[in-house]
């Protein structure tokens, strides 16, 4: 066996050189590396974008005022009247202004309109911003539900 080992050691081995293949492979590997880097970056960007959009969308549905405030905070270019914020005043009780509840307030007692039954009451708001522009907005008056008297 020793002689065979010796023989194998003494075999004339050709000198294999990679030649231009080495340069070609190097170039291909570099391109592949850059592609790999890009392919890892793209999903990261898209996932983060999608998650930000999801948060924004859910915020817009659940708490529109917060979304609006956030929008103003980020962009801060809206000097107009933030009429959307008036939604926060929904909790204010305007029901006493309704002619149904306070008919005297409407001044309709002697008018022919007093013959017609009021279906729904609205409040018309007139607002003016710093640049003297006017905006009207109408909000619906929530009618108070009379609690049932249980005998």
């Amino acid at each position: 066996m020793k002689r065979l080992s010796k023989y194998l050691c003494s075999v004339n081995k050709p000198e294999f050189q990679p030649g231009p293949f080495s340069v070609r492979l190097k170039y291909e590997l570099k391109n592949k590396f850059l592609e790999q880097k890009q392919s890892r970056l793209l999903p990261t960007i898209s996932v983060s974008l999608v998650s930000v959009l999801t948060v924004m969308l859910s915020l817009l549905i659940i708490k529109p005022q917060t979304a609006y405030r956030l929008n103003r905070l980020v962009f801060d270019n809206n000097k107009d009247i933030d009429y959307l914020l008036f939604n926060s005043q929904e909790e204010t009780d305007y029901s006493n202004l309704s002619s149904q509840i306070r008919p005297v307030a409407t001044n309709m007692q002697n008018s022919p309109l007093s013959m017609i039954e009021e279906d729904k009451s609205y409040i018309l708001h007139k607002l003016r911003d710093s640049s003297n522009r006017t905006i009207f907005y109408i909000s619906e008056v929530k009618q108070k539900v009379q609690p049932k008297i249980l005998y």
Partner: protein, 192 residues
């Protein structure tokens, strides 16, 4: 290419996970050796190019998974190369079976080729190819690549004493494959 210590190589591999320049350095260092090893095994330039490309693509892709175990990076590359050579051999075997007009050389022709290409590598390779893949690998690493047993142990993941026994058995098989006249002729050349 200057010699690196294991610690320096570890640093370089860590950098290569994110920096192409570091990987390029490793490529420049080990590519010729891997190419030579693959050529000794497959003895076909085109196939060797394909295998070496796959080896380095896989190395680059999976370098982030490479865990440092105080084993040189080259051992990992050799192992990938060995697996790729096995895949190539399987494909080649299938092709060989499919081909109807393959030319099977007779032993006489082998003797002729031996006389023509005295002690040529091609001659040895013809017989070597008939051994199991692991034996081929062991003989190539030990006699053609001239690797010490410690390094072969790193590549194959076996211990040195097992490798010595395996090598002895592989040589015995090779001796049985080579026709007696050719074998005696070859050994005469060694003793001369």
């Amino acid at each position: 290419m200057e010699k690196m210590t294991l610690e320096e190589e570890k640093e370089l591999i860590l950098r290569a996970k994110v920096d192409y320049q570091a990987f390029d350095y490793l490529y420049e260092k080990y590519m010729p050796a891997i190419f030579r090893y693959v050529m000794y095994r497959v003895y076909n330039h085109e196939a060797a190019e394909d295998i070496v490309s796959t080896v380095f693509y896989k190395a680059m892709k999976n370098i982030s998974l490479f865990k440092w175990r105080k084993i040189p990076f080259s051992a990992w590359l050799y192992r990938i190369a060995f697996n790729e050579i096995c895949n190539y051999a399987k494909k080649e075997k299938k092709m060989y079976k499919l081909a109807t007009n393959h030319d099977l050389r007779s032993n006489d022709k082998h003797i002729d080729s031996y006389i023509d290409n005295q002690q040529s590598f091609k001659f040895v390779h013809t017989y070597l190819k008939q051994l199991p893949l692991k034996d081929q690998d062991l003989i190539t690493l030990r006699f053609f690549e001239k690797k010490p047993f410690t390094e072969i142990a790193n590549i194959t993941g076996k211990n040195e004493s097992t490798l010595r026994v395996n090598l002895h058995r592989a040589l015995k098989k090779l001796q049985e494959i080579i026709p007696k006249e050719v074998y005696n002729e070859a050994l005469k050349q060694v003793s001369m």
